[in-house]
């Protein structure tokens, strides 16, 4: 049996545009990952609960509503509460450059705006998970 990365893809908040999330989900699937796709309009609580039950290795969020700061803050808080701070979170959508340092400060591992290639995201996940595995092995 081979170990497959399990990646949760979710859309928190109220915007209804899920094409980006689907494109990323599909790209990760084609890269041999197991993608748990949870769909639109997820609350931070739903996302963290799903990640916990699915034992996700990483969480990808797509946000275009502009509400990324409060949503991400709440998700990171819930991850800490559930002792899941070791699960890397990456972000896609419309994120103003000024907010990037704040999000990184909250612990977001990767941010991919419009124009990022799916290859870039696949590499990012593989590298991040490999590094995490290395840390655990040490």
């Amino acid at each position: 049996m081979e170990i497959k990365p399990r990646i949760l893809i979710a859309k928190p908040g109220l915007d209804g545009h899920d094409r980006g999330a689907k494109v990323v989900a599909r790209a990760l699937r084609d890269a041999g990952m197991e993608v748990i796709y949870t769909g639109l309009r997820q609350t931070p609580e739903m996302i963290v609960e799903s990640a916990l039950q699915e034992d996700a290795d990483a969480i990808g969020l797509s946000i275009l509503s502009g509400a990324h700061l409060p949503l991400v803050a709440r998700i990171m808080e819930l991850l800490t509460e559930n002792e899941m701070d070791d699960v890397p979170v990456f972000l896609g959508g419309i994120i103003p450059p000024d907010d990037i340092p704040t999000l990184q400060g909250m612990g977001v591992a990767g941010i991919f705006g419009p124009g990022a290639s799916t290859q870039e995201i696949v590499h990012f996940i593989n590298d991040t998970l490999a590094a995490a595995q290395g840390d655990r092995a040490v």
């Binding site: 041999g32 609580e45 699915e54 002792e83």
Partner: protein
Amino acid sequence: MNELIAGVLDGRARAIARLLTLVENSESAAETAVTALYPHTGQAHIIGITGPPGSGKSTLVNEIAKRLRQQGQRVGILAIDPSSPFTGGALLGDRVRMRDLAGDSGVFIRSMASRGSLGGLAQATWAAIKVLDAAGFAKILVETVGAGQAEVDIARAAHTTLVVEAPGMGDDVQAFKAGILEIADILVVNKADRPGSERVVRSLELMLHLGPMGGTRHHGRILTATIPAANGTSSGWQIPVLPATASEGRGTAELVTQIQQHLAHLQMSGEWQEREQERCRHELRQLLQMRLLARLDTAVSQNEQDALVTAVAAREIDPYTAVRQLLNHFPANHEVSGKSASTT
């Protein structure tokens, strides 16, 4: 591992999630986990939900789980979706339809990729069911990969099997074919608000010989027929055909009542024990098959196996001869003794 097992027995979500991953990823972890958990299993009512892709299985699971929660039962859900035969990747999308269950600590949902299994379940599904059983979930709903006609493994894994059909998927000859329809304990015609659903219900009832006269009418004569139950025993359970519109929650109360009645039937008729016996027999044979193949792989190198495959493909030898040669690597069982080992 011990800590995780204790956590599972306590019903802690994180421990359940972690152990499910281990069981899915490693056969030896599955062995350790199942060995430790097995004495705590056997309590859960395992309910299988199968049917073609798009027939509404996930939506139905969502509704069934909601009703069971109203009755105060803890519900575990295993939702299986297919893995790509080319990349091994998978898109597991069943949770999209189960959002009503979010935030309820009495429900645990886990998506599983089929990882090359062809029977509608994943290989690890059997072990995963035991993890949820030991964690104290009274009802375990197992949703299969979208199934066509022959993916019938679920009937061996579950106590109660629901086959979900929807209108618009073929004429009534489909209802007479062997395979998936035969494994149903309960038949659900979902999307009953769509045109043609009454016809599907009627074809299925006809197939079951449950026409209005209690038998099939042909040239005015009533032909009665006894049909054996799916597992070959004549159980006396009358398979209901239930219309439902899961997206609106219609028909699902009756469905849950029938699920409970089927459980009562299994317990009162003694069929519960028979099904458990069949479940265990099937599981043992599957494990045995897996282990014997693994043993072959250690006895015969990959190169040697490849050479045989090439010879068969080149029509140098036939497949039966090739298998005989492979089996020669195993001593016939009565010759396995210290003596034969010392000659090597």
